[in-house]
Amino acid sequence: MSAAIDNHWYPVAMISGIDAPRETLLLGKKIKLGREDGICWVKDASGTPLPTVERFGHLWTSPGQPNRDLFTIPEADSPGRRLVDVGSVKVKCSPLRAVENFLDIAHFPFVHTDILGAEPHTEVDRYDVKIREEVDEVWATKVKFFQPQAAKSAAGGITTEYMYRVPAPTCSVLYKTCPPRPGEWDIITLFVQPLTDEWCEVWPWMALYDDDSTMSEMVSFQQLIFMQDRSILENQLPRKLPLDPGMEVPTQADMTSVAYRRWLKKIGYTYGAQLVAA
């Protein structure tokens, strides 16, 4: 595997879920993880320790030598937020397909019907997309969409504003209008562990302002949404994400996905990507 793929941080477990040592896959290779005296560890197949970071309720590791720290989400530290470990879902698709689906709003009325979207409110207005060179991240801002029930805490339909951020090839952070606190952003993330190039484990995590819902209600809401996404992700052909134009047809609503694919190509991140039209 090339450094362009190995030298990233990857989520491999929810910290609260680590009890006995266990095996998992990262980029097609076996790794082992566990916790001793409150400190999490990860080892490769030969028993060599791998670097670890504990952040956002999850354990992160890297099979290479990451040349930068794991990204941060400063907004998530503000007081009053509830941090929600959603759990994990394994999906038979490329890790990049899972991230790209998370960046897409146009599917809301059809896949998350009457929750995140509903006909006839299907139009996607122009929004801003940029690869921020100084931080090497993809950002989409001023994304607006009408949602019947934007969050567990939403009382009725509202036009929600979104910002999407891709701080690492298999991670995305969504900043979203917060129904009970206008002016603040709810934070919903998608951390994707590439088990192989066509199989991934998805760890959503949230930092929300919601004083009313129970933890299990917030978890159930997000799990329902992701189960609906999974029915799509396991039925896209090919399973890998095509990076070359020609295999799939983007429109203006897909500007975030176009920028994401271009950025993956630029940084040489080809794990889970299809480079030549089959």
């Binding site: 146009a106 009325p109 006909e119 299907t122 039925n235 090919p238 047809v249």
Partner: protein, 200 residues
């Protein structure tokens, strides 16, 4: 390969879409509300989603992922994210020749004009998957091909065989109109057991 049966019309009524395949060609088979059958490549050109998971809306097939609608020629004529846009003609789904005749849905991947198989007065009974290749089924009956194989029975049975993989095919079974359907159904089950015991 000319006409191949891909399903029975009664199993794909108007407004329904199902997945099907002829060897490596995966298809979405669907029927318009007005009763016209279509066989298309099972892939939306937008993001590669299977169209067989989609839904029939009016005389179009819509993809479940983003609701893109494809008209009867396979061209995209509506993109919900951009309701005012007229989609370019280049956005289209590959289509295959498909007709319904005698209650059977027939597809020709190479669009030949060959006449459709002769079914006589027989009527469709049911479809059953069998763990054996279509070629091996034909060989079992000493038939030259597998498009249709007349099988001697009390019910004047005819098999229209759909090749799927090296180890799987589907038998679309037709029989005399006055044959008892339950009896034919039991006959088919016995046939399946026999065929699955045939060494490949």
């Amino acid at each position: 390969m000319n006409w191949i049966a891909v399903g029975l019309a009664k199993d794909v009524p108007p407004g329904v879409v199902i997945p099907s395949r002829i060897e490596d060609t995966e298809m979405a088979i669907w029927c318009t509300p007005s009763g016209r059958y279509h066989a298309w490549s099972d892939r939306c050109p937008h993001r590669g989603m299977r169209l067989s998971h989609g839904f029939v809306r009016g005389e179009t097939l819509a993809c479940i992922y983003h609701g893109w609608q494809y008209n009867q020629t396979g061209s995209c004529d509506y993109i919900p994210a951009h309701p005012k846009l007229t989609p370019p003609d280049t956005i289209c789904v590959p289509t295959y020749t498909c007709v319904e005749e005698g209650g059977v849905i027939w597809v020709s991947l190479n669009s030949v004009d060959d006449p459709l198989p002769v079914l006589g007065a027989r009527v469709p009974v049911r479809s059953v998957p069998v763990s054996l290749s279509a070629k091996d089924v034909a060989a079992h009956f000493g038939a030259a091909g597998f498009t249709t194989i007349a099988v001697v029975s009390d019910y004047d049975t005819l098999l229209a065989v759909q090749p799927c993989t090296d180890t799987m095919c589907v038998l679309h079974v037709l029989a005399a109109p006055d044959a008892d359907r339950k009896e034919v159904s039991r006959w088919v089950e016995d046939l399946r057991t026999t065929l699955e015991g045939v060494p490949a």
